[in-house]
Assembly symmetry: D2
Homo-oligomer: 338 residues x 4
């Protein structure tokens, strides 16, 4: 932590700040510049969290030098975290595809999807049961019933499952049926939900918020891991910008940034990022090449009859084409497609 | 709803779309342009919500012509909604100040704040008990204990209270103590919470999400009102942009936009919008002049000892100065300051 | 300037940085923290501009402590700058309205506009002659011919004139006819043009770029003032965000921010900021109340026949209404409307 | 073009709009919906450009159905455009690397860079001579002198050259020395410069503006091509968003979007997009995989002595590593690296 004094700060102002720091058990190193004086703070800066040092007379601003997250910080682990679920390992040398329809619509539909995706080499099935929808008049999901269908289908085809929960209530229900719990973009800063999902000790698939910085996202992961649940998988799914030719703007740079700042595995969701079927395969190739650990992609047996997000769902045939296109890039990246 | 066909769409494509529309009980009006054919859809467009018309062969895009929210829509009410709570009326000819500390820190602190604000003419007291904080290592609020203190202080000084809830769990506790329930920016799209707060039938203070469009915000209000709770007060509190000299960017235009699109009252929160004490009074003046129905502002008996957001809290003396500065503008706007 | 070292930086790394600083005539003050070492740099930091200190081994990042602009900096002038043009003074106690059509369309049109605006108390006339248009197929302005018409009209009605230049070529022509030269949002970082307009020593009306930070904007002003032309008037006209219900997002906070960081006068353009006629008057009131020094507003004798931006142009009658609405707020702010 | 009427529009309002359309030689097709009436406009919509139809009584809004750019539109050319310069062809089956230092600093430096890059298989050399810098106190480039050095170096090593021009003045000088003229992000909407560079008939490397939509970018290209210069190469270099962990946000989706909307070749500049050396190679791999036609990357013989953007410049050794990493992906994409 650095405290920058105002140009017109008096020696008394500086002395007062230094005394305060000493009072809190911290050391102060002064640099008297030509225009301003800078005070380097040495010690456990968290003791300053609620001290409002910026309000002391003569203080211009505080400049944090280290990150506020700890357990997710790359500095705490040179080794990349991998998440093991059943026989599947996410991260490390694996490149994992998670696929399935946006929403579970019926037992028949999710069985059909599971069958086709299993044939396409997918071992983790996605499907929404609790849907967060902008308009209250849109289809809101089948809830518990849908999760039962998906669990049944996954058992039949020997797959794992992931689905979003939007409340503690939904979490309590969903935990019984799912292998991986997804926290969606709209709930990335729903801190109560993050704490509760941390306590389940189930693997968590944490999507980035629509307008969350990478630092806020890593702090959200910190909420989960602090509950002794280190099985967190991050997923970049596009951020909100001024550009309207895609639904969101895929922040592809976030992958190397996260790899530099954290040890957690990170996925890309090209379906929600673009919102347009025709762009998904190109973005999936980029996701592999940039170094992500997997993709989550929407596939529907009959996109034109989908109850949600049909326009961004691939057909099973288009999914096979996507898989064929990314396979050789996965190989080059020294990864195993699974 | 308008369906725009692709330039190379065949007559068969167009015919197929028209047949689909007829099947759903809708009428189709064709305009064959030089480059493209346009199909105007007539009837209740909500039947198309899950039909994925954009996936039919030859279709380029769908263009919605009307909004997806109904009950909050200006078209459904020429009259501005006012919200009555005890003897206080929000909206209409009143300009209302809600003030108090960011967080309730102790019984003494909230009593001190209430006393000073009451003397300053404020009749609605704010104070956070369940704090959503980016870092899990920051002060998280006193919870129920804090609400008890605030209720006691409000009773002593004959004030109403408002505080944020961050989960259904917090809502169930908070409902016992509060006159107005606040939904914060991070939970604006926490739809489960919106539905539950709708069912309480208590007045709801709904802040705009950090990156929510006005349309998404009005749709969030629709979730609440659909539960037969029409007592919704909107609050603009800054959106996320590239500019960093303020904490957020106050979207002052949102006030006339909301007034044009909806009949709900709308407030401005200049404290969170700017994050800098020195800018708050200027923004409060602008909030009055632009036509909002009130402001929510952070005031702390001793900002330099605040456990949360001290840097954006006014002192009681600064608050009185703010009140003095906005009073004549409130008068000019033909409003009553309360 | 502060240099933050990496957690794993060696004592040799630190020593190497310190030696470099000494070599450049600077002093270094070390603060050895628990996690990282911080080096405070003392002396004229501009000598480091091209030294790439961030590439030295062990360096994590550089943190600037002071701004890069000088002449426009509030620190260099406690007194607010006013710009005198003919008998008119911009800034100080005056609140100035600049008004006129988006584009000069004919001699008749600009005379009609001038006449009506003069009657409405306006003394500075605007009108575009060189129009920057997104599409090359839109009306591009009358060029020099238009400026001649406007000069003639201004002479007839004893007004001053302002118009945008989009190139050095246009500047050379326009200088002959105009009292104030406008640099538009799209050219705010056209540095060659900024230098040239600085050399004219004419008053410059500098609009903020669509996605320029306040710091970049003040640096743009610095380019002009460095050429010994201190007559710069800033104008906030909306920034680009994700919100689409207005053409741009008026950053109303920029006015107190600029007032804190600089001594230059600052205007608001509610017409371009909103792009919607119905919102302009509300935003003009806010512009007065927030403390700006004036507004620039589009008024057209017949908006429905305007060749450019008709939808955001006020009729003369609407302009009078705007003037009547802002007048009492201007009075309260202790300003003189002119 | 579609004209959407307001819900309360009268039959007379509709009739008046229809009459206007007929007057302009256009046809009108009416769709009377439950809530609103929609008017499809048939004919050459450009005649409406300056007619302000949105101001007619009862009109709610105009919805454009087709794009405003023509010559760059994919609809006008099924075939991808390639740009031939000397023996080099950009686009088609080639994946082209343009590399060199941010700024030309001396004859020695540019010769050293050219030598190393030629050995690394690069045939197009970049180097800045006219530098647009945010602060007037930063290094502004060597101007014509620099271009002479680069031309000499390129001749020696049999390379082509590209450099940015920031004004018509710079363009006139630079045309004598360069094979490709670059228009930078800050000048993407400097329309006078676009027209002039169009008239040179030299290949143009057009970077996307910091906050330009894809449609605005394609309209900028239209300005150039309208001057009978179809040799335009687009370059995505990051857009401005709220995220600060990278200098800009690389909009990787813009590549498939541009490929769908236009026939022009498109490059990626991972150096400016990220601003951080450690992320460039990962982004370059993504650029290849997503389907772009080439990359522009900053390489400096000694980045730690660079006068501009050293922190984002690769060393020659890092460049070779980048080349080695993208080569196999270029192969998989069916392209030839050159």
């Amino acid at each position: 932590m650095i405290i920058v004094m105002k140009p017109n700060a008096t020696p008394e102002n500086v002395e007062h700040v230094v005394k305060k720091l000493h009072k809190y058990g911290l050391e102060a190193h002064l640099s008297q510049g030509k225009q301003v004086t800078i005070i380097g703070v040495i010690g456990e800066k968290s003791v300053l969290a609620n001290k409002n040092m910026e309000l002391l007379a003569g203080v211009d601003k505080l400049v944090p030098v280290t990150e506020s997250y700890k357990l997710v910080n790359r500095k705490f682990s040179d080794k990349n975290t991998t998440v093991k679920i059943g026989g599947v390992e996410i991260g490390g040398d694996n490149f994992t595809i998670i696929a399935g329809p946006c929403a579970i619509e019926s037992e028949e539909q999710i069985f059909e999807a599971a069958k086709q995706l299993k044939e396409g080499g997918v071992s983790i099935l996605r499907g929404g049961a609790f849907k967060p929808r902008t308009s209250p008049y849109s289809f809101q999901g089948l809830g518990e019933e849908g999760l039962k269908y998906m669990q049944k289908a996954a058992k039949e085809y020997n797959m794992l499952t992931v689905s979003e929960v939007t409340s503690v209530y939904a979490l309590n229900i969903a935990s019984k049926y799912l292998d991986i719990i997804q926290i969606g973009a709209r709930n990335m800063q729903n801190y109560e939900l993050l704490k509760e999902v941390g306590k389940t000790h189930k693997p968590v698939f944490l999507k980035r918020g629509l307008s969350a910085t990478v630092d806020e996202w890593l702090n959200a992961a910190e909420y989960i891991i602090r509950e002794n649940n280190s099985k967190v998988i991050l997923c970049e799914r596009g951020i909100r910008t001024f550009e309207t030719s895609t639904r969101n703007t895929l922040d592809i740079s976030a992958i190397p940034v996260v790899k530099a700042k954290s040890h957690l595995p990170i996925f890309v969701d090209p379906s929600h990022a673009s919102g347009v079927r025709g762009y998904i395969t190109a973005l999936a190739r980029a996701a592999v090449a940039v170094g992500s650990d997997g993709i989550m992609v929407e596939v529907h047996p009959n996109p034109d009859q989908a109850l949600s997000d049909g326009a961004q769902s691939l057909t099973p045939a288009e999914f096979i084409e996507l898989r064929n296109q990314i396979k050789p890039i996965v190989d080059i990246m020294g990864r195993k497609l699974c």
